[in-house]
């Protein structure tokens, strides 16, 4: 099973997120991550959905999304020609024994420390999901107190745009 990333342009109106996510639940499609946010035009929002599935499931998801009245554009983003990013905020236990190791990891991963207290450290990291996974894996032994990931956002490279005509 491959991972697919969909860019979806929807009308920016109340309830649209339930319609989209409800379709996935109702038809038994699993979502890896779903993010939603503003676009360059106030009438539309952009939803990025990542899911695992075969070609058949991907086609069914596309067809079902296209049937939703509020969905204006759907595209499978070609992963090789798309910039995919995710943001992580992670809070780790801060102790004299581990501080230096954490700092090294932060530096190597080009993460940033955004909050510091005598007992905790909060880092921010942006990147592809695999990079974030690796970072989390590395920090596990030091004691993760709390973390949250945004799920991915994605945009095509070059002049290609996902726009409503």
């Amino acid at each position: 099973m491959d991972q697919y990333v969909l860019g979806v342009i929807v009308s920016n109106i109340a309830g649209v997120l339930s319609r989209v996510s409800g379709m996935f639940t109702r038809r038994g499609f699993n979502i890896d991550s779903l993010t939603v946010g503003e676009t360059e035009s106030s009438g539309f929002s952009r939803i990025t959905i990542a899911f695992h599935g075969d070609d058949d499931i991907k086609e069914r998801i596309l067809q079902q999304l296209r049937k939703l009245h509020d969905v204006k554009e759907v595209e499978v983003l070609n992963k090789h020609e798309t910039v995919i990013r995710e943001l992580l905020l992670i809070k780790i236990r801060n102790s004299a024994g581990s501080r230096q190791d954490i700092m090294t990891a932060v530096e190597i991963f080009r993460s940033k420390i955004v909050d510091y207290s005598p007992s905790s450290l909060t880092c921010e990291l942006t990147g592809e999901s695999s990079k974030i996974d690796a970072f989390i894996e590395l920090l596990k032994p030091y004691g993760i107190m709390e973390m949250c990931r945004t799920g991915i956002v994605a945009i095509e490279r070059g002049d290609n745009c996902l726009k409503t005509k």
Partner: protein
């Protein structure tokens, strides 16, 4: 001039060509009903006994005419009562606009009196739904609702209107015309060419169609293709009435209780051309086995249906009528003498099996059965067989008579046996299988057509919405309600007989309901019949009676619907006889 939101609703309905709405009043639609009263010369409101009945009536109105059916209900319980009707319409692709009142905007989200989130509740069973919070958007939202309901693959749309929006004032200019549907998708030329190639090179073609042929108005085109490529034709439950049942190419319905000839023919075909059908599990049985022996071309207006249940060798999205016209022009005229001979054989076999079944039921004695089906004293040969009931009743109807059914054995018997001639004359809940659908649907159809309308119901199903007899009587509708009274929830009992060791758990209706007295209590007429002779007399009376007439037909509780593909089974384990 500014008018109220309530008046905008009524004016927009009229603008959209709506002559009749079905509904039930309540606190959050009282303004709307006031406008309906003021406009009663221009739009007819049919008051049902229960909102569910009103929603099925709107559905029956839509199925019988092809127009958009409209149902109106108040907030809270009124709104939840129409959910079954909306879901029924959704699963059978029926164009409907459901309008609900809701509490004023500032009370929404506070669990106010009779507040429910009907938009949230109906999201999965509507094509789309709206809540209108600004009166300025009301008219256009309703127009869009009509547009969505009737575009492409039709379906229900709900518009929820808070009370303060009905009260608020706004400018309104009526449109000169009802909205036109969104542009149709048309089949790609090269896909049709590929289809033509498959058809030209096949030896045993079979055309299988569904309800899409009725909503896509493609009956004549189906026959034209069948004639040109010398193919037999069969359909799903939803396809019934699209093609006259006496057309020599028509082998009948397929699926769990489909006709023998059509099920076998499809399995023996080398190419199946499927038109406007979705391959529901009830139509296919075991999906792996179903399409094992043939190649499949699948044409549907809804792209999401392609490859959804059964993967096709060639899937084509597009309007059925257009696709068929173009495809028929592309294919070579063919004759398949061997295949045709085999089809004739299957047809003869079907007739033989049916006759056998008819005579064996007449001999059956049900001895120690607990169901109160009261046939003591009636010689076996005189007892009413389900098919006999349908034959006698249909002989009194004409080709334009709309036939509604409820859900159960009686539904399948009617689907198998009733001679249908014209599209939109057979109304049945296929996708949702809603017991209680029939009374409302028959009322909607009778109101829409102004003609005598027929309902085949079961004693169980009738019990669910028989309160709508009150509606039929007050609307002075000429309904003929035929109850196939077997004293049991027959369809479930049949499964218990076959798969649950005859444990008749809660399917024997030990009720003492006197349907004749009940009909009379509602102001209708009724009679009970146990023999063909009595039924003949009753039918003659019912079909000349100017009002609603209930015929309570005594049927053996152990009549079975056959043939039967067991659930998940296939033509390999088709049951044609039950001992």
């Amino acid at each position: 001039m500014k008018i109220s939101g309530a008046k905008i609703v009524v004016e927009t309905l009229i603008e959209q060509g709506c002559d009749t709405v079905f509904g039930y009043p309540g606190g959050q639609v009282i303004n709307l009903f006031d406008e309906l009263w003021l406009c009663r010369d221009r739009i007819n409101h049919v008051l049902a006994a229960h909102e569910q009945g009103a929603s099925h009536a709107a559905d029956g109105y839509a199925r019988a005419t092809g127009k958009v059916g409209v149902v109106i209900a108040t907030s809270g319980p009124g709104a939840t009562n129409i959910v079954t009707g909306i879901a029924t319409a959704f699963l059978d692709s029926v164009p409907m606009v459901a309008i609900t009142g809701n509490v004023p905007c500032d009370l929404i989200g506070r669990d106010s009196f009779q507040e429910v989130d009907i938009v949230g509740i109906t999201m999965p069973v509507t094509k789309h739904n709206f809540i209108v919070k600004d009166v300025a958007e009301l008219a256009d939202t309703l127009r869009t609702a009509f547009r969505i309901a009737k575009s492409g693959r039709p379906g229900p749309v709900l518009v929820d209107i808070p009370k303060d929006v009905q009260v608020a004032l706004c400018e309104f200019t009526p449109n000169a015309q009802p909205v036109i549907p969104y542009p149709l998708t048309f089949a790609h030329e090269d896909k049709l060419a590929q289809a033509a190639e498959l058809i030209n090179s096949c030896e045993r073609p079979y055309i299988y169609f569904g309800g899409g042929v009725i909503s896509g108005k493609a009956s004549a085109e189906v026959i034209a293709l069948a004639d040109k490529i010398d193919s037999p034709v069969g359909c799903s439950l939803m396809g019934l009435s699209a093609v006259p049942s006496d057309n020599p190419r028509f082998l009948g319905m397929q699926g769990m209780h489909g006709h023998y000839a059509s099920s076998i023919a499809e399995d023996e075909a080398d190419l199946v051309i499927t038109l406007g059908a979705r391959f529901s599990d009830r139509a296919t049985g075991n999906k792996q086995r179903f399409a094992k022996n043939f190649k499949l071309i699948h044409i549907d207006i809804d792209g999401a249906e392609l490859h959804k249940n059964i993967p096709a060798n060639l899937a084509i999205q597009g309007d059925i009528r257009d696709a068929l016209e173009r495809l028929t022009a592309m294919v070579e005229e063919k004759k398949h003498p061997e295949w045709s001979a085999r089809i004739e054989e299957l047809k003869a076999e079907e007739i033989r099996r049916t006759e056998n079944a008819l005579s064996s039921t007449a001999e059956k004695d049900c001895g120690n059965c607990a169901a109160p089906c009261d046939k003591s004293g009636i010689p076996a040969k005189d007892r009413l067989n389900p098919y006999t009931i349908i034959d006698i009743i249909s002989s009194h109807a004409d080709e334009n008579t709309v036939v509604a059914t409820d859900v159960g054995q009686h539904q399948m018997w009617a689907a198998q046996r009733y001679p249908l001639k014209k599209p939109r004359t057979f109304l049945t809940s296929g996708g949702l299988g809603t017991m209680g659908y029939g009374m409302g649907a028959a009322i909607g159809a009778a109101v829409a057509t102004g003609r005598r309308t027929l309902l085949f119901t079961g004693d169980g199903s009738f019990g669910m919405n028989l309160n709508e007899l009150a509606t039929a009587v007050s609307q002075k509708l000429p309904l003929v309600v035929v109850i196939m009274n077997n004293g049991v929830l027959g369809m479930v009992r049949q499964w218990q007989t076959l798969f649950f060791n005859k444990h008749y758990s809660n399917t024997t209706l030990d009720r003492k309901t006197d349907f004749v007295k009940l009909a009379e209590a509602f102001g209708a007429k009724g009679t009970r019949v146990s023999t063909a002779e009595e039924l003949e007399k009753a039918a003659a009376e019912a079909f000349s009676y100017n009002g609603t007439f209930v015929i309570d037909c005594v049927v053996d509780c152990d009549e079975f619907v056959l043939p039967m593909l067991p659930p998940g089974g296939s033509v390999d384990n088709i049951i044609t006889e039950i001992k």
